[in-house]
């Protein structure tokens, strides 16, 4: 009897193992370069998955590999790539740890970097008064948890008490204690909450609360990326509140977010050089630096001319692989699909120095799935959008993609035909978007009228939305 029970467990495990292997996401395309890039990135990214026995629990590397750790910025960036690759348990554990470790003793910071032993990484932390911390991190993580909710449909990311406390402290005490209200950004001291005695040469003291992801700029009051992070953080909190029906409170936070966005456009745009300043220093002056990805990453820009200028400046600048790894997604998302593809090929090229840095492979996965394939879930609406962002004719297909608590195969047959199969047990609405002006869409040969509009870059798009029930295969083609 006992033997029979173990047999069952054994077969169950075998099945789980096989099904796990079977269920792994894959990408095929007529663009063989991209296909190779995906294959390399998938192998490389999964190589960074932690061991089941690691004390920290499920995790993946999101920091310098030698540290066996994950840091807030990298994890926030890698999170959707990880979700695509099936690293859901890892995401949930890692982000819960970030959320749980926010504390008053650390002036409402969390641990910047946690290692596989479940400790704050010694490379960045000595004690609660002496540690490295970039202030955009709380807002970046807050935004990541919202995107994880949107991707997975798992309300844990917005309703769990640890996450709710993290949200409230981040938009409240954290902003107050680090003097980050919208009207203080140019007046705040460059250094706050320094330990006593203070040693400016000790990074754990002078970099506890860096007002940017940029490092090594002395006497910076505020970095432009922090303004964008604040905007996105508060807007995210407003979105979370609205998703729970707390509309009046959501409105307050949306208004606060808007103050940062307005400050960004009013104070930080260098009209003379047609670019955003990088930081504001203790000397009361704005300064330029290499453009970073964060204005676009935090989706803080509305003016398409300024977006184009920002993209052009980024494209014209030599930047490190960490920063470049954001670019496939950002360039796809902002309409420059050809450059986005080039970045994918550059990042996956064996000749690219440091392509092994964890963010790179995750960035390539994200670039192909969210970028090229244009897959964008909306958990609240239960909608999955797709838009094939290709500049050449051809096909592309993602199989076994975990999203919205189901699994799907998505194929872009060409730029006006796409198909989807729901392999899981949960229905969703498929919003199939196509570039161009099409009157009709044939949904499994049934003609439907499309909705036609323009995207944020002003390109004409047409779309149709259908429910895809479990087990269903739906093919949509648009016609004039």
């Amino acid at each position: 009897m006992i033997l029979r029970r173990y047999k069952l467990v054994f077969f169950a495990l075998i099945f789980y193992g096989f099904s796990g292997a079977w269920a792994q996401v894959s990408f095929t395309s007529s663009d063989k370069e991209l296909e190779r890039a995906f294959a390399w990135a998938k192998e490389m990214a999964l190589h960074y998955k932690g061991a089941e026995t690691d004390p920290v629990g499920p995790w993946y590397e999101a920091a310098l590999p030698s540290r066996y750790a994950f840091c807030m910025r990298d994890a926030a960036h890698q999170s959707i790539g990880a979700e695509i690759l099936g690293l859901s348990r890892e995401n949930r554990n890692m982000f819960t740890l970030f959320a749980k470790n926010i504390s008053a003793e650390k002036n409402w910071c969390s641990y910047w970097e946690i290692n596989k032993w479940g400790k704050p990484a010694p490379a960045d932390y000595r004690n609660d008064k002496e540690f490295w911390y970039n202030l955009p991190a709380n807002f970046d993580v807050l935004f990541a948890t919202w995107r994880l909710y949107q991707w997975t449909g798992n309300k844990h990311y917005i309703n769990d008490p640890a996450f709710m406390r993290f949200q409230q402290k981040t938009v409240g005490e954290y902003i107050d204690t680090w003097v980050l209200t919208a009207d203080s950004l140019l007046k705040r001291p460059a250094h706050l909450h320094t330990p006593i005695p203070y040693n400016g040469k000790d990074d754990f003291q002078s970099c506890r609360g860096l007002p940017s992801y940029s490092e090594g700029i002395p006497d910076m009051k505020t970095g432009v990326d922090l303004v964008a992070a604040l905007y996105r953080g508060l807007q995210t909190y407003a979105d979370i509140l609205a998703s729970k029906g707390q509309y009046s409170e959501a409105k307050i936070y949306a208004a606060k977010a808007e103050q940062y966005r307005q400050a960004l456009e009013a104070d930080w745009w260098n009209n003379k050089e047609a670019r955003y300043f990088a930081y504001y220093g203790s000397d009361g002056k704005f300064s330029n630096d290499n453009p970073g990805p964060f204005l676009l990453w935090f989706d803080a820009l509305r003016d398409t001319a300024r977006v184009r200028a920002n993209l052009a400046q980024i494209a014209a600048t030599n930047i490190n692989v960490e920063t470049t790894s954001y670019l496939p997604f950002l360039f796809y998302n902002n309409g420059d699909w050809a450059t986005a593809r080039k970045y994918i090929l550059y990042l996956s090229d064996p000749a690219t120095p440091r392509r092994e840095y964890p963010e790179v492979s995750f960035g390539v996965i994200e670039g192909i799935v969210q970028g090229l394939m244009g897959i964008a879930p909306d958990a609240q609406a239960g909608t999955l959008s797709t838009l094939f962002k290709t500049t050449s004719r051809g096909t592309a297909s993602v199989k076994n993609l975990p999203v919205l608590q189901t699994t799907v195969n998505i194929t872009h047959i060409d730029d006006h035909h796409s198909a989807i199969k729901n392999l899981g047990r949960r229905s969703f609405k498929w919003k199939a978007i196509f570039t161009g002006n099409y009157k009709y869409a044939a949904v499994n040969n049934v003609l439907l009228a499309t909705t036609r509009e323009t995207d944020k870059q002003g390109k004409a798009i047409s779309w149709v939305q259908v429910v895809v029930k479990p087990g269903r295969h739906v093919k949509i083609g648009v016609k004039q």
Binding site: A190, H193, T194, Y198
Partner: protein, 685 residues
């Protein structure tokens, strides 16, 4: 001949380089005052524009310190954070920071209604809807923080909100006065609030401590036109919460105002510069209010939410106690004597160093940074205090400590003839080598004072001569060991291998060593060291500590560079009194975010007493006066000085353009000494 030509050429080049370096002038930044001096000596910020603005201030009484952080955002919303420290209510184990302290935010205040509408502190005029916004119109400081406000609607009610510490109780008070300025009656009510927290018995020293936030005069009042009502919230500590703790907010405020007036009455500065006069008066408040009544008697404490019921060799023994000898404040002089007595308790026959700090009301010590030159600091401060205080019995009580400290220093003189110490008052934050300039200069001045003091105490002549000889020797060795050209300036290296300019190169000037005054003054006021906030601790660093700026301004005046010093003194005073962080000298930045540590205010006053008026005590009833009257001033007066065992005024006036008249008035009788500008008058009272 060729060689000679070459040499001449090189010398010329070097001279030009040096002249170029010396001619680097610091352009002082343009100043835009936020605050304005009022006729009653207070300062006021009228909240009209330039928002947001945030600042913080500390105010202290014998049993409490109240730190108030205040901010008015761009929508006009005022927020206040109160941190209340109870220095004599302590936890275990004993250490520097074992006092209890609690923070209170606006959202913890009781609800206040005006004509049944809720007065809200966190909303702007535009957001008030059916409620009322608290709209601050001005903030005033003068030992009491006073916010004048009105409600955001047409209800004609004026609100005066004051925050201050009790003079003698472990209590801070926030008082609200509502005045009906209309012609109809107004009802004002405040909810009753009582909230208490008691510390853990096992961790509490003596007894568990209870901290209470409670309302006073809560309930409803109907105000007829023109009438006012007083409500208050008080924050106090008690070890007997079961016993009544009656509070009269208005009486407490009156006591506080009386204490401020008592501090202000003696030692009054009158110059043609109202900013300097007012900054001096404010500095007296902060220097003197931060004295706590502990079980060891009155102890001055630096404050800053960290340092209470504890004394340090630098803050108390070196900086502020010598000031108290001039201050005329009896509590101040008691605290100075207690400070030196406490240190004296740690003298030992083995000449092991005294602790750097005696903490927890005298129950524990701190010596974490080793010998910081503490003995030189104590000997310097105690000998100056003893001479100035002018009481032989007090001096006799202090002499063993002074002589012990001097002997300690003698035993730490190295082969090059300078005193070694492990660090300085910055405790290793910046390098100080094995022997530093500060320790040695303090030791030198202490020897000079000890020579005079030993004479006053009728000690054997041999002893007097010994101190004299040692003073001459250390002065020579300071020049040999520390004298150097640093960054093109003929000044001092701070320690043997130091090759960057340091703020503490000013110390020789403040101790009467003027051998390198020209190069040192040029270096101090060069762009390498002088920043918008005074002296950078080290050239090129963002860190500043006001103490070195305060010493430098005194030293430069003593050295005779009067007009140069006055430009920088006026700039510094205006920034601290009327700028963005007011109204006192601060400790440092980035460390501590410019806290109002109190001993720095004592140093500020000493710029005038010892720098501008050039008073150098020489005996129990005598001093040298080397006045530095700025060229565009006709006269300046320091009146009601309580020092040298008497009370007197010093008036400095120009005579016929060239000469200077030093008039000492004592009990209505004036004596005038006519001297050349820059000369010293030997005053015997």
């Amino acid at each position: 001949m060729k060689i000679l030509k070459k040499k001449t050429f090189l010398t010329l080049i070097l001279l030009i380089v040096r002249l170029t370096v010396y001619s680097q002038q610091t352009t002082l930044p343009e100043q835009k005052d936020r605050w304005a001096i009022q006729p009653d000596g207070s300062i006021t910020w009228n909240i009209t524009n330039r928002l947001p603005h945030a600042d913080h201030i500390e105010m202290s009484g014998e049993k409490v310190s109240l730190w108030v952080g205040y901010r008015v955002d761009s929508a006009g919303v005022t927020s206040i954070t109160r941190k209340v420290v109870f220095p004599t209510f302590r936890m275990l184990p004993d250490d520097t920071r074992s006092h209890i302290a609690y923070t209170f935010q606006d959202n913890e205040l009781p609800r206040i209604y005006i004509n049944n509408k809720l007065l809200k502190f966190k909303i702007s005029r535009r957001e008030q809807g059916g409620d009322l916004a608290f709209v601050a119109k001005s903030i005033n400081h003068h030992g009491v923080m006073r916010i004048m406000a009105e409600t955001g609607k047409s209800d004609p009610v004026k609100i005066e909100r004051t925050l201050f510490p009790s003079v003698d109780k472990p209590m801070a008070i926030e008082k609200f006065v509502f005045t009906n300025t209309g012609n109809k009656q107004v009802t004002v009510s405040m909810e009753k609030l009582y909230r208490a927290v008691t510390t853990d018995t096992l961790r509490s020293k003596s007894l568990p401590h209870t901290v209470v936030m409670k309302t006073v005069n809560d309930g409803s009042r109907v105000l007829q036109p023109g009438r006012s009502a007083v409500f208050a919230v008080c924050y106090f500590a008690t070890d007997h919460p079961e016993q009544p703790f009656p509070v009269d907010p208005s009486a407490e405020e009156n006591e506080r105002i009386k204490r401020i007036a008592k501090i202000q009455s003696p030692l009054q500065l009158e110059t043609p510069d109202s900013i300097l006069n007012t900054a001096f008066a404010f500095a007296k408040i902060r220097a003197t209010e931060s004295i706590f009544k502990t079980k060891r008697g009155y102890l001055h404490g630096p404050g800053g939410l960290e340092y209470y019921a504890a004394i340090w060799a630098n803050d108390q023994a070196e900086y502020v106690s010598p000031y108290f000898a001039f201050s005329g404040d009896s509590i101040g002089t008691m605290s100075a004597m207690n400070c030196y007595r406490l240190f004296a308790g740690y003298m030992n026959p083995e000449y092991n160093p005294l602790p750097s700090s005696v903490v927890a009301e005298g129950d524990a010590i701190w010596k974490g940074a080793g010998d910081r030159g503490d003995q030189a600091m104590i000997a310097y401060g105690a000998s100056r205090f003893a001479l100035t205080y002018g009481k032989a019995d007090s001096a006799k009580a202090l002499w063993p400590l002074i002589s012990w400290c001097l002997e300690y220093c003698r035993r730490h003189i190295n082969e090059q003839g300078v005193v070694e110490s492990q660090s300085d008052e910055l405790e290793g934050r910046f390098p100080s080598g094995k022997a530093n300039l500060s320790t040695n200069c303090l030791y030198y001045d202490a020897l000079v004072s000890a020579t005079m003091l030993a004479g006053q105490l009728q000690l054997p002549k041999k002893q007097v001569e010994d101190y004299k000889a040692r003073a001459i020797a250390i002065k020579l060795n300071i020049e040999k060991y520390f004298g150097a050209n640093v960054a093109g300036f003929d000044t001092y290296k701070y320690y043997e291998t130091n090759n960057t300019l340091r703020a503490w190169i000013c110390v020789p000037l403040a101790m009467g060593i003027y051998d390198r005054s020209k190069g040192t003054i040029a270096a101090l006021f060069s762009p390498q060291l002088w920043t918008a906030d005074g002296l950078a601790t080290e050239a090129g660093e963002e860190t500043f500590w006001d103490r070195s700026t305060l010493y430098a301004l005194r030293g430069v005046l003593q050295a005779g560079a009067t007009d140069q010093a006055m430009d920088f003194l006026h700039y510094y005073s205006r920034r601290r009194l009327l700028g963005e962080h007011v109204p006192y000298a601060v400790e440092a930045y980035p460390e501590g975010s410019q806290r109002h540590l109190s001993a720095e205010s004592g140093l500020y006053c000493r710029i005038f007493i010892e720098g501008l008026f050039g008073i150098r005590p020489t005996g129990f009833n005598s001093f040298n006066c080397t006045p530095r009257l700025p060229k565009n001033w006709k006269q300046m007066t320091l009146s009601n000085i309580h020092a040298f065992g008497t009370v007197f005024d010093v008036k400095i006036a120009k005579v016929n353009g060239e000469k200077v008249a030093v008039t000492i008035t004592k009990v209505g009788i004036a004596h005038t000494h006519i001297i050349n500008d820059g000369e010293t008058a030997n005053i015997k009272l």
